[in-house]
Amino acid sequence: MSTDFILYLLLNTALVLLIAPLFSGLIKKVKAWTQGRQGPPLFQQYFVLVKLVKKEVIYSPNASWVMRAAPLVNMAAILVAALFVPLVFVPEPVGGIGNIILFMYLLALARFFMALAGLDAGSSFGGMGSSREMSFSAIIEPTTIIVFAALAIVFKSLDIFAMFAGSLATGTLATPTLILIGISLFIILVVETSRIPVDNPETHLELTMVHEGMLLEQSGKNLALMELSAAVKLTIMMALLINLVIPAGLALTLTTAGILLAALLFVLKGSVLAVIIGLFEASMAKKRLFQVPSLFAMAFFFSTLIIIIEVLA
């Protein structure tokens, strides 16, 4: 393992942890503005995390080691998945880090433990959340894999690193296929990060909640981990979309100036995307639970279209 790669591991993890709460804060802010509210301060997410870490943890008497382990495993899996998506600097891949299928399944690992934690306390809210989360994640999976397969065809590699490098080489918005993939990735982002119209990240009402339902039993530092991991997941899904569609500025070599410029550009691009997500959420209503699959079916046919275009072209 080269020093470059070790530096990449440190840099990417630090950056994603630092920047993640900002993006989710920004989305909240944008939504508040569109609704004519002031909204929480931009850095509110950071304060919330610090507050939660300082608080005591409360466990249900029914809770087992699953409840205690799940936040840690969840966070670790998401952090390792974050290593698969370079934010600012693309190193040479080592030992299959960057494999897009492995990336997908690391997210599944995090989700598996989160769903188990939802069931652990025996509360009906947690069970409801777990059940819906696992159902949705299962039926979006064909779409995700087809989009990833389309990416693999376009860039002739299974490696996210190579995809980013390839996208950087061909320039921005190179092909119509890439735009189609961008739209599909956006839908996947919305589903994976539990946003409107699939889920509502703001409420704890039993009619709307999926992701939040699973977290209802979490408290203190465990809740902080869950919130932070959700924010990190949002950031890496955004990074995947940004660096594939508008890769300009990504650093291929490790120079201080290049990294700083890339980081600045990334924050800028990410903020624009966060605003778009915020506006998208504000303009949508939460879909009824059993109307969501039809949205997924649409996304699936859309992504199959990409494959057919790519294959027959």
Binding site: E56, S60, L102, L109, F112, G127, R132, P293
Partner: protein, 646 residues
């Protein structure tokens, strides 16, 4: 030397079969000796197969030929060694588990039959895999079918068992019939029972032979629509037997298919597509039916159907790639199928054994009556959790490693020229991804309903942890699941194949690092005290198990999404006192899940055969005069025929 080890292993199994039958007394020592024989034989088989697998050369045995054409011979090449290893590892752990399990079941001296049958069953499977020609293959195939039938019928006094047993008997003999037909057709084609390669484009006869063999192996391995015996036979048989049948016997059928495809036929493209279609259908439907099950063992049986489907997808992909001239991808797909066979054997036997412990502790197979067992059976819970993680294909465990190989083969199949075939492969890929995600949902449901939350019955409340031996067997399997996952790349490299598999050891290491790091940061920044307090119960003072989310509830969203696949029949009958149907008198309502394959496929076929046999039975009216008439007509017909041909 190595040849002798094999004979010794066979003798051990034979001894394990004979001893408890000959000495008919209900003593523990007999059963211990018998299972001890299985354990020793398994250890010998492991030491025998490992060097062959790494590539020390094929072991041949001189064939025993009592009568010209028919001979019985053994040969252990790398393929056979791989499946011998699979059989040995699983039998080893199952025998360890059974040492204790058989003492906790009722049945008195009948339990001797259980361990004798187990030995015979393992022996038969070893012999099938080691068979050198098609004749001995079929002979031992029948022995395997008979031994497993006895074991399925072991608890014959339970009301549901005879039906399950008969179902299994019919299906398994249908399989044997097809295999026999295939072997006979091959004999017509090549003129011998040897497993020799048929070069060139397959003739019509060879194609028919392949179709017959495919049907035979598909029935035995539970490919949809021939799968129906699995969810009946598994709940009926004792848990160690379910583990053996699901983990090993289905793989012996996979071995059969692979042996004939690799060594005998020169497959064509459409064969691969056929295998792929059946594999994909089984994978998707298997897991969708598994989601609906609330009988723990039937659920595991359906999940076996799903995994066999995945293995068949790998085999089908191999054939497609091979015939499209892509040997590198073909090797990846084949490795994926083989590796998944081994991995499924490990985690499915692990799950069946731990499920057996749970069922033993709670006296029910219904997951709705379990819950909260993780506090009462912590080790069993952790083992079941490992199995669930592996079967849900989560990194860095072994189930993921083998599915990843098949995924890689699918992803890189873009180099195939034919666009229609490419689109077809991508559709299979999408369904494969769906399968794997649904199985994650299925095992969240299984682990969650069985082990988490609150106990939903008194038996679950009183459940106790199992004795050490019943934890050791599954424990070894769980360790194997982790090791084969984390070191997947290294193991495959050791076997001499270069595959573009990510290094899961590195991923595991990173996961561990992140885990430790997160824990350390929180350890120093956050208060270490915690409080235990009631879960919020919507305003209730205390939580009730009845308000908990059940297994049924858990799979409800998926039930509704896939409702076109679950055919239900709703019956709603009401009677009223008056003619305007206003004053309600009595009524009955029922929502019944239709057994689609049974009602639309199995029963019509069975009825057809019954009608046919009734027609034929009319000729046998029990009257001597009629029979003399038959003889007379036959002689007359013969005379006419001979005169004609002369």
């Amino acid at each position: 030397m190595i040849a002798e080890i094999f004979i010794v292993a066979l003798l051990f199994l034979l001894a394990g079969f004979i001893i408890p039958l000959v000495v008919r007394s209900d003593r523990r020592i007999l059963r211990t000796i018998s299972y001890g024989c299985t354990i020793f034989a398994s250890a010998f088989l492991t030491t025998l197969s490992l060097p062959v697998l790494i590539g020390s050369g094929t072991i041949m045995f001189p064939a025993y030929a009592p009568a010209g054409l028919f001979s019985i011979g053994f040969i252990i090449d790398r393929l056979a060694a791989f499946f011998l290893l699979l059989i040995a590892v699983v039998s080893f752990c199952v025998a360890l588990y059974s040492l204790e399990y058989s003492e906790h079941t009722n049945g008195g001296v009948r339990r001797n039959l259980l361990c004798a049958g187990t030995n015979l069953f393992v022996l038969a499977m070893v012999l099938v895999v080691a068979a050198a020609d098609t004749f001995s293959f079929f002979l031992f195939w029948e022995l395997m079918a008979a031994a497993s039938f006895i074991l399925v019928m072991y608890e014959y006094d339970r009301p549901s068992t005879p039906r399950a047993g008969i179902f299994y008997f019919v299906m398994t003999h249908l399989s044997a019939l097809f295999v026999m037909l295939g072997i006979l057709l091959l004999w017509f084609e090549s003129g011998s029972f040897a497993l020799e390669h048929l070069a060139g484009t397959p003739s019509l006869l060879a194609t028919c032979a392949f179709v017959c063999l495919f049907c035979g192996f598909a029935i035995k391995s539970g490919i949809i629509p021939f799968h129906k015996w699995l969810p009946y036979a598994h709940p009926a048989s004792p848990s160690p037997i379910s583990a053996l049948m699901s983990a090993v016997m289905l793989k012996v059928a996979v071995y059969g298919l692979l042996r004939f495809i690799l060594d005998v036929f020169s497959p064509e493209l459409w064969w691969g597509v056929l295998i792929l279609v059946f594999g994909t259908a089984s994978a998707v439907l298997g897991v969708i039916y598994a989601l609906k099950e609330h009988d723990l063992k039937a659920m595991l049986a359906y999940s076996s159907i799903e995994n066999i489907g995945i293995i068949f997808m790998g085999i089908g992909l191999y054939v497609v790639m091979e015939t499209s001239g892509l040997p590198v991808l073909a090797t990846i797909a084949l490795l994926g199928a083989l590796f998944h066979s081994l991995n499924h054997a490990l985690f499915k036997s692990l799950l069946f054994l731990t499920a057996g412990s749970v069922i033993h502790a709670t006296h029910t197979r219904d997951i709705e009556h379990m819950g909260g067992l993780i506090h009462r059976m912590p080790v069993t819970g952790a083992l079941f959790c490992t199995g669930s993680l592996a079967i849900a294909a989560l990194p860095p465990l072994n189930g993921f490693a083998s599915e990843l190989l098949i995924f890689i083969a699918f992803f890189t199949s873009v180099t195939i020229v034919d666009p229609i075939l490419k689109v077809f492969l991508f559709l299979c890929l999408a369904l494969f991804a769906l399968t794997s995600a649904l199985s994650a949902a299925c095992f969240v449901k299984a682990f969650g309903s069985v082990f988490l939350g609150m106990p939903r019955s008194q038996e679950s409340e009183d459940a106790r942890e199992m004795p050490p031996l019943m934890l050791l067997g599954p424990g070894i399997l769980a360790a194997a699941c982790v090791v084969l996952g984390v070191f997947a790349l290294q193991v495959i490299t050791l076997a001499g194949f270069a595959v573009p598999l990510p290094d899961l050891f590195l991923v595991g290491l990173l996961l561990l690092m992140m885990l430790v790091l997160t824990y350390a940061v929180l350890f120093f920044t956050s208060p270490r005290t915690f409080r235990v307090s009631e879960t919020w119960g919507c305003g209730m003072h205390f939580q009730e198990a009845g308000a908990e989310y059940t297994g049924h509830g858990f799979s409800e969203p998926l039930d509704i999404i896939f409702s076109p696949l679950y055919r239900t029949r709703i019956r709603n009958e009401r009677q009223f006192y008056d003619e305007h149907n206003v004053i309600f008198k009595a009524g009955a309502a029922e929502i019944r899940l239709l057994r689609v394959f049974e009602e639309y496929l199995y029963l019509p076929v069975a009825r057809g055969f019954a009608a046919l046999t009734r027609t034929i039975a009319q000729f046998q009216n029990g009257c001597l005069d009629t029979y003399i008439l038959y003889v007379f007509v036959t002689v007359l017909a013969l005379l006419v025929f001979l005169g004609w041909s002369a």
